[in-house]
């Protein structure tokens, strides 16, 4: 969850806003604006190294959802690296 919070925070105009947002709180209902959501999505794409699908974009609405997206892929990537090793 920490990694997801860092990613979201880097997309916010006022990073302290995230301190008031719980893992399951809706980001926009908590004060994140549409421009910031766009940057969060962009940050996710850069982290994953691929474009997000329409469903993945629509599901980016909580800290937990962002974590599930980027951590699931990180786990897969780590496993792949171990397999190569």
């Amino acid at each position: 969850m920490t990694s997801a919070r860092h990613l979201i925070q880097s997309g916010l105009d006022l990073p302290v806003l995230l301190d008031r947002i719980g893992d399951d709180d809706d980001l926009i209902a908590s004060g994140v604006n549409s421009g910031e959501m766009v940057r969060i999505a962009l940050n996710c794409e850069q982290r994953l190294g691929r474009v997000l699908t329409d469903d993945e974009l629509a599901g980016l609405n909580t800290v937990r959802a962002v974590a599930a997206l980027i951590e699931e892929t990180a786990t897969g990537h780590e496993l792949a690296e171990k397999a190569v090793d």
Partner: protein, 352 residues
């Protein structure tokens, strides 16, 4: 660990690093807001925040020729629409307006069945925060979703979770959250005269004869003037299509509401009554999906979707009760500026 990006992934730590040369290069690539429709009230600091561009580069646009007024306290004041277009046309692919549109159109490259299948959406409208002393703040009113429209259904079980749809059809002075089910439907129109009008309008956008860009609200309502000036957005196009089709003696109307996805976005389309039902025509989606504007990273390579825009209804367009594509948010009696729509949110909804 850094990994090379896949095609289509934008490499920038933060959106909007166009540089002055890039920003200034956008001037001349779009039609500037005519002075009689311009509101020179946006300072560089506000624009930098909303558009994610660097403040000094915005300030420098004044010397580069972007129309403005000079305020002794705030520096140059620009028209917000001109700034949005500067961001859209600077070619960085990184400004918030460019990115938002690209993300919102990503559904066009999804399998066709996903355009139509019933989807439940949680839609929220948070009233914008207007800076300045409270006594000077205008009454803010927003239009409400049209729950009687084809393909739109209320979700009664969501009311248990507190998502009560706003009642009535008139604008309300509060935000709201509601859950709706949107069902799309493939379709096409049989009348060849409609196809001729459609082809002409989409063709004008595709050829660049008319530039697809952001248009100020007052000019949207003067859609013929905008079109003659060579500028159009979805609202201008929807009103123009409806007007031209009505002149053929056919029932047609411009609709306006929200395109739902990563965020909610103000969008408009035309509807023609044929075969006992209203059928949508979305010329701007068709333009983007059939080639669009590659120089602005707006190209979506989806010819099947482009054709589906001629009569098909999509499961992420929520119409509001806005006759003839009237504005969705008001400050007092005036249409609100574009940034006021940042409080629209949307996400798929599942019952708890």
């Amino acid at each position: 660990m850094n990994r090379p990006a896949a095609p289509g992934v934008i490499q920038a730590g933060r959106a909007g690093r166009a540089g002055l040369a890039g920003l200034a290069g956008a001037i001349g690539r779009f039609v500037l807001t005519p002075a009689e429709h311009a509101r020179y009230d946006t300072d560089a600091a506000s624009a930098a925040r909303w558009l994610q561009l660097a403040e000094p580069e915005i300030t420098a646009l004044a010397d580069a020729g972007l129309p403005h007024l000079t305020d002794s306290r705030h520096g140059p004041l620009f028209d917000y629409t001109d700034l949005v277009n500067t961001a859209m046309f600077c070619g960085s692919g990184q400004s918030v307006p460019e990115l938002a549109l690209r993300f919102l159109l990503r559904f066009a490259v999804s399998p066709a069945e996903t355009w139509y299948e019933p989807r439940k959406w949680l839609v929220g409208m948070r009233l914008p925060e207007v800076p300045g002393p409270e006594r000077d703040r205008p009454l803010i009113r927003v239009r409400v979703p049209d729950l009687s429209a084809d393909g739109v259904a209320e979700v009664p079980e969501a009311e248990q979770d507190g998502f009560i749809p706003p009642a009535g059809t008139e604008p309300i002075a509060r935000g709201y959250q509601l859950v709706v089910q949107l069902s799309g439907a493939p379709g096409t129109l049989a009348d060849r005269r409609v196809r001729a009008v459609w082809t002409e309008v989409v063709g004008a956008l595709a050829s660049g004869e008319v530039i697809y860009q952001t248009v100020p609200e007052s000019l949207r309502m003067a859609h013929q003037q905008a079109w003659q000036l060579g500028m159009a957005d979805c609202i201008v196009v929807s009103r123009l299509l409806a007007e031209r089709i009505r002149k053929l003696g056919l029932p047609a109307r411009a609709r306006r509401g929200y395109l739902l996805g990563l965020v909610g976005s103000d969008h408009a389309w035309c509807e023609v009554h044929e075969g006992g039902r209203w059928q949508p025509l979305d010329a701007v989606f068709a333009f983007a999906a059939a080639g669009g504007a590659p120089d602005r990273n707006l190209r979506v390579d989806a010819p099947a979707f482009a054709e589906a825009c001629y009569g098909g209804r999509f499961n992420r367009l929520l119409p509001c009760t806005a006759d003839d594509a009237a504005p969705l948010v008001y400050f007092g009696e005036r249409p609100a500026p574009g940034w006021a729509l940042a409080g629209i949110s949307a996400r798929p909804w599942q019952s708890a």
